[in-house]
Point group: C2
Chain length 136, copies 2
C-alpha cells in the first residue's frame, strides 16, 4: 500500500504513521466513515493513535481535498474519500449505506447561478428510507 504515501506527497503532507493508517482505511473502504468507526478500527488493529490526532488528520484531509465531510442526520460527521460525485441511500432500519451516481445536479447548479445569483461550490444530497432487504 504505497498509494497512501503517494497521496500524502502530492498534497505536501508529511508522511507519518498515523496519516498512513487513516488514509489506508479510507482508500480500502469507499463508504462514509465516522470518527468512532476509526477508533474501533484502531483498537482492533492495536494501533495506538490519539483521538485528537484523528480529528486533526480528518480536518487536514478535508482541507486538502483528500476527503469529503458529510452528515447523515446522526449528530456526527462522516468522511469519505473524494472522487466520484455520487449520493447516498441510507437505510433507517439497518443503517446500511449504498451509493447512487450523480444524475445531473450540476445542471441545477448552473440554473441556480443564473436565476438566483448564488454560486454553488458543493452540495449534499442524501436519501433516507428502507433498503430492499428491510422492506418486509
Amino acid at each position: 500500500m504505497d498509494k497512501s504515501v503517494r497521496v500524502l506527497q502530492e498534497k505536501n503532507l508529511k508522511n507519518t504513521h498515523a496519516r498512513q493508517v487513516v488514509l489506508d482505511l479510507f482508500l480500502q473502504n469507499s463508504t462514509p466513515i465516522a470518527a468512532d468507526q476509526i477508533f474501533s478500527y484502531l483498537i482492533e488493529k492495536k494501533c495506538d493513535i490519539d483521538r485528537a490526532t484523528i480529528y486533526r488528520i480528518l480536518d487536514t484531509f478535508v482541507e486538502k481535498g483528500i476527503l469529503h465531510r458529510m452528515e447523515f442526520q446522526e449528530g456526527k460527521f462522516r468522511y469519505e474519500i473524494s472522487g466520484s460525485d455520487h449520493h447516498h441511500l441510507i437505510c433507517e432500519k439497518c443503517s446500511s449505506i449504498s451509493d447512487i451516481s450523480d444524475c445531473g445536479i450540476s445542471e441545477w447548479e448552473k440554473e441556480i447561478r443564473s436565476k438566483k445569483g448564488f454560486l454553488v461550490k458543493r452540495h449534499s444530497l442524501e436519501f433516507f428510507g428502507q433498503c430492499s432487504s428491510c422492506q418486509s
Copy 2:
C-alpha cells in the same frame, strides 16, 4: 396567534405555554432555526423555558410532523416548519439561508425504487457556496 393552538390540537398535543411559544416562533419564521437561536429568542422575550424542554418539544414536533429536522454541516441540527418541499442555498461567507423549490427529486425517488429497490422516505438536498452579495 391561535394558529399554534389549532396545530397542537390537530396533533393531539397538550396546549402548554412552552409549546405555543416555540411553535409561534416557527410559524412566524419559515427558515431553518437551530436550538441556540431559540434560546436567544427566549432570553430576549424574557421567557424562562428550560433547554431540556426545548429539545423535548423539538423532538415531539418532529415526531408529529410539525417540524423537519436538518443539518447544514455545522455540527448541530436545525428545524423548519413542515410544508413546502424545498431546498436550501447556504452562503459559506455570511451564513444566509435562502430557499429554492423542489424541481423534481421525486422523479429520482421513483427511479431509485425501481432500479435499486430502495424505498425513499425523505431526502435532504443542500447547496453550499456564496450568495450574490458575497461574491465580490
